[in-house]
């Protein structure tokens, strides 16, 4: 029943993609505008007429944009350019879609200067760089080098289509974790296939280094303590300093955002000479993957979306998702005889702990090497720590004791978790996170978002700092009538991307993208659950085949401390 409309939409999609290819640079937001209109045209023949018009519009704009002298010269230019572009478009579209500038992208191999690489893992890794335009609208602005690691499969039955792992954050880089991933996750995410890791521009080992001292300065702001207002004002100062530094270095914050990252990834695909690949995307990475599905569906064999972060506006604020996950923890404790015996009213304990920390912050010593020697644990930081611990089952299980320790003002008991989270925080590119979120999500700049987000550090607007950073750009998208085989995984107690986020994406993509909801699982389903990992592997092996989901119902509740 769906075959005919799907074919129509595929043709339509190819046409608008061609229009986008013809209309690079300053015209690309207009190409996006034309493309987005299609999502509002339900009638297939009308959509086809619209798409043909988009192609004509793109050629028209491209050709009339050329400078020429007299009428005859202009006519000659018009005819010559039109013919050349038609020929070039037909010849290259399949290979260079989304790519606007010469020379052809290349993967330049480098030595693998990565942490914790053992001699047994080293032969599996191939490291390198791919150069991408700093500004796709202005090829003269120079290039950024993106760090890439390919983890080769050791199987003899190697499949030709590799898997691209798209990291979250924004600003949570991957390549530095190549050794761990090669040792543990690569066979799950990419069975019989190579696994490709790339740090998105502005993150990790990729250029530019977006205010590399930012996270440390922000941690120091916590160390210095003070009221929530004082800490937030200090963080705001770090962001404004960061922005000033970028401008001084000639880096324009408008060069970032999911739409740009998708173009970078398309350059990477061409540089590696891959015609079609698979994608495993996690958290914010799913925003990138969904935009790839809309813009470059022909390059994708299968897409696995884990902990889905839909484009703006999200159906719930972070304050709401956090409260839901926290209440789920309290309920889980009530249902667990050992937990309820140790913490008869965990919710009350939490609220009393928050009040106590507001009254007098607790000094918690940090492990050496993190910068500040200790942090002042106030309610803002504690809420942030609880939020982070709710992400993952192993940390979640510790939370009742952590809450109790904060309540009882026992800093030694809190030290291991806070040290672990501080180390994780310092590995983030928080400048990249800010710039990408600003570009992608206009709603975060609204007054209501400022109020709603002042509960969690990291998601805070810091007294409207986002409005002073960079204006929103071309937004991420979710394709209607998705044609790429997809699997969506979501954790029922995820404090940041809970099931309602996946549901709105599925409602848009259609029934071809099944969503699997995991009970008792938070963020990053594949990493938090053996069953989730099993589904990811099944799906990459046979994206069109039946998926055995029997293990989902057997996921056990978290054992709480």
């Amino acid at each position: 029943m769906n075959a005919r409309p799907r074919r129509w939409r595929q043709i339509v999609l190819k046409l608008v993609q061609h229009a986008r290819w013809v209309l690079p640079g300053a015209g690309s937001p207009w190409a996006d505008a034309m493309r987005h209109e299609l999502d509002y045209i339900a009638d297939d023949p009308a959509a086809l007429r619209w798409a043909i018009g988009c192609v004509l519009a793109s050629y028209r704009v491209r050709v009339t944009g050329l400078r020429c002298g007299g009428a005859r010269t202009c006519l000659r230019h018009f005819a010559a350019c039109g013919c050349l572009m038609l020929l070039a478009g037909l010849a290259l579209q399949g290979h260079a879609r989304g790519q606007t500038e010469q020379p052809r992208p290349a993967f330049v191999e480098t030595t693998c200067d990565l942490p914790n690489v053992s001699p047994s893992i080293r032969p599996q890794l191939r490291c390198g760089e791919v150069s991408v335009p700093r500004d796709y609208d202005n090829p003269g602005a120079g290039q950024f080098k993106l760090a890439v690691v390919v983890i080769h499969t050791v199987t003899k039955e190697q499949q030709a289509d590799p898997v691209l792992f798209i990291h979250g954050g924004p600003g949570s880089p991957l390549t530095a974790q190549a050794a761990r991933i090669a040792g543990a996750e690569s066979t799950i995410l990419a069975p019989d296939r190579d696994l490709i890791l790339v740090d998105q521009r502005g993150a990790g080992r990729s250029e530019p280094a977006l205010c590399p001292d930012l996270a440390k300065r922000q941690l120091t702001a916590f160390a210095q303590g003070g009221s929530t207002d004082v800490v937030m004002t200090a963080w705001r100062g770090t962001y404004m300093d960061c922005r000033r530094n970028l401008v001084q270095q000639g880096i324009d914050p408008a060069w970032f955002g999911t739409s740009v990252t998708v173009r970078d990834i398309e350059v990477l695909r061409q540089a590696l000479g891959i015609s079609r690949w698979n994608v495993y995307a996690r958290s914010y990475g799913t925003t990138v993957a969904m935009t790839m599905m809309a813009r470059h569906p022909e390059t994708l064999r299968a897409v696995d979306l884990d902990s889905i972060y839909p484009p703006d506006p999200a159906p719930l604020t972070h304050a709401q998702t956090f409260d839901t996950a926290l209440n789920a923890l309290f309920e889980a404790c009530c249902a667990d005889s050992a937990c309820v015996a140790a913490h008869p009213d965990l919710a009350a304990t939490f609220h009393e702990a928050m009040a106590g920390l507001a009254n007098a912050p607790l000094t918690v010593v940090l492990p050496p090497g993190l910068g500040p020697a200790d942090v002042a644990l106030g309610p803002l930081l504690f809420r942030g720590i609880v939020n982070q611990a709710l992400y993952y089952r192993p940390l979640l299980s510790m939370l009742p004791n952590v809450i109790q320790s904060a309540h009882d003002r026992d800093p030694a008991a809190l030290q291991p978790l806070i040290g672990h989270l501080a180390r994780q925080f310092l590995a983030q590119s928080t400048g990249d996170r800010m710039v990408v979120e600003c570009r992608d999500r206009p709603s975060l700049q609204a007054e209501s978002a400022v109020v709603a987000s002042t509960v969690i550090p990291g998601i805070i607007d810091f007294h409207g700092v986002r409005r002073n950073w960079v204006k929103p750009g071309s937004p991420p998208v979710v394709a209607s009538s998705n044609v790429v085989p997809s699997l969506l995984l979501t954790g029922a107690i995820d404090p940041i991307t809970p099931p309602p986020f996946a549901r709105i994406v599925v409602a848009r993509m259609g029934p071809a993208a099944p969503v699997v909801e995991f009970p008792h699982v938070g963020h990053d389903v594949e990493e938090s659950s053996a069953c989730g990992a099993n589904l990811v592997t099944q799906f990459v092996r046979r994206p069109e085949g039946p998926l055995s989901t029997a293990c989902v119902a057997a996921v056990p509740p978290v054992t709480l401390s």
Partner: protein, 103 residues
Amino acid sequence: MPRKPNSSPQTRALLAVLLDRFRTWRHGYDLSRETDLKSGTLYPLLMRLSEQGLLESRWQDSERPGVPPRHFYRLTDSGLALAQEQAVSEATLAAGDRAGVMT
């Protein structure tokens, strides 16, 4: 003789539609239906008017969850002045035509 800028029938039709509800943000498909201009004609016009500072645009979220944002347009102050000038001129021309028929 070179034609006066923004005086083609298509541009005039577009300016007239934008003028009609000039405070309202309008999207491309809506303008296409109302002006009867195909997207191949409409978008180059929108882009040109925008480059000339006569049109402002913005991305606006859909009211339907999961549907991507849409690009909306309306006249700037200078675009409004031009559209009004054109409307006045067309009204005068129309009046002149009627006068001619009458004589």
